[in-house]
Amino acid sequence: DARVTQTPRHKVTEMGQEVTMRCQPILGHNTVFWYRQTMMQGLELLAYFRNRAPLDDSGMPKDRFSAEMPDATLATLKIQPSEPRDSAVYFCASGLTRQGYTFGSGTRLTVV
């Protein structure tokens, strides 16, 4: 089965450090999402791309988060500098627009 691959699966970092999370969407999928999941807020949409173009990143703290798709096989989410409140599970999802979306297994980020 085709799958969305996220790396790393787990990341522990110190406050102030840069964190980069990577996502390999399913080949051929034209829509890519980044979500953050916490117990308090549930699944929050951070940013999404269609055909590699960023469509909406209003869910991200602009001063510290950035999302890019350097090519069709890679999406990245960076946090610089990281803060303890960024601790969460970050999910990437991909799909063909409005035809179902497949999620990766997530990156569990802990900022200490």
């Binding site: 829509t31 999910f91 409005r98 179902g100 999620f103 297994s105």
Partner: protein, 112 residues
Amino acid sequence: GESVGLHLPTLSVQEGDNSIINCAYSNSASDYFIWYKQESGKGPQFIIDIRSNMDKRQGQRVTVLLNKTVKHLSLQIAATQPGDSAVYFCAENPSNDYKLSFGAGTTVTVRA
């Protein structure tokens, strides 16, 4: 077992019984809806989707019902099994956007 009203965060159901999970969506412009299942430590997994030109869609042991008049979505699981224990999310997609927005989720626990 059934989650009563618009949304209950937890649902306990006897193995073999049918489960009904309810979801209220907020955006009148939403015309595409997806149900996801999330098991502990994993990403959300696509279960079934429905478009607004339908009011019912069936899959294997699952049925989704859509009531656009009251903006309500439900997921019915027939003959609930222990493997159905998970958190279930509904997600909506407006016709004028590619954004996929999630509800708070319902935790389903299957009693043996």
